[in-house]
Symmetry: C2
Subunit: 107 residues, 2 copies
Amino acid sequence: MQTAALDATMLALSDPTRRAILNRLTSGEARVTEIAAPFAMSLNAVSKHIQMLERAELVRRRKSGREHFLSLNPKPLDEAAEWIEQQRTFWNSSLDALERALAEHKD
Amino acid sequence: MQTAALDATMLALSDPTRRAILNRLTSGEARVTEIAAPFAMSLNAVSKHIQMLERAELVRRRKSGREHFLSLNPKPLDEAAEWIEQQRTFWNSSLDALERALAEHKD
DNA sequence: AAGATATTCAACCTATTAGTTGAATATGCA
DNA sequence: TGCATATTCAACTAATAGGTTGAATATCTT
């Protein structure tokens, strides 16, 4: 994954409103107004959050008349997961000497 | 994971300099100056990036005299991975009708 | 004590986020 | 046509990010 794409994905995921929007979309596509309803902020604020999610390509937009339907795009999330899993592999394999000794002692 | 902790973790991971620092630390703990060396920015800028990583508790600091040794703390990364994996599970199980039909057709 | 090294703190600048309100645009409906 | 609905655009504010430079603090070395 290009670093800029990962930057945008991680940044999009760093806000609880945006994570809640993604979670909402797991139960299927939804319109902007529907997505905004549960939040204690203006429709415009939610609209901007959606735009950040689009910038990260975590959500896709389909227009039908005046309604815009949003849905999830799993690819950037897959790539974020990949980066994190790669790191976790390294992190686990580079414990310090004491930790390694303890781990070996278990065997 | 508390939302604020996840916020801080994802935000910390949204910057390429900070991801590079984490990557550097997979080969063992390092001092601030050592970490800063490869980057085309001031030591102070790197010091601030390290502070953001500490705020997310992705790195820990151990002081020995005037030197500060940084090391990785895997916990927040584990929790970020957990959130993402949970989402991925839902995302995969909530494909739209067409996609489900296609998936079933494969069986 | 004095000087070098390791690091942070403080102040500043610019760009971006996250929210607001008000206006514009496009579509649907009577 | 005229009005309501769905959504974005534009302008504004306040807070934060990401960088700079210069000064402060703490420690090591001679």
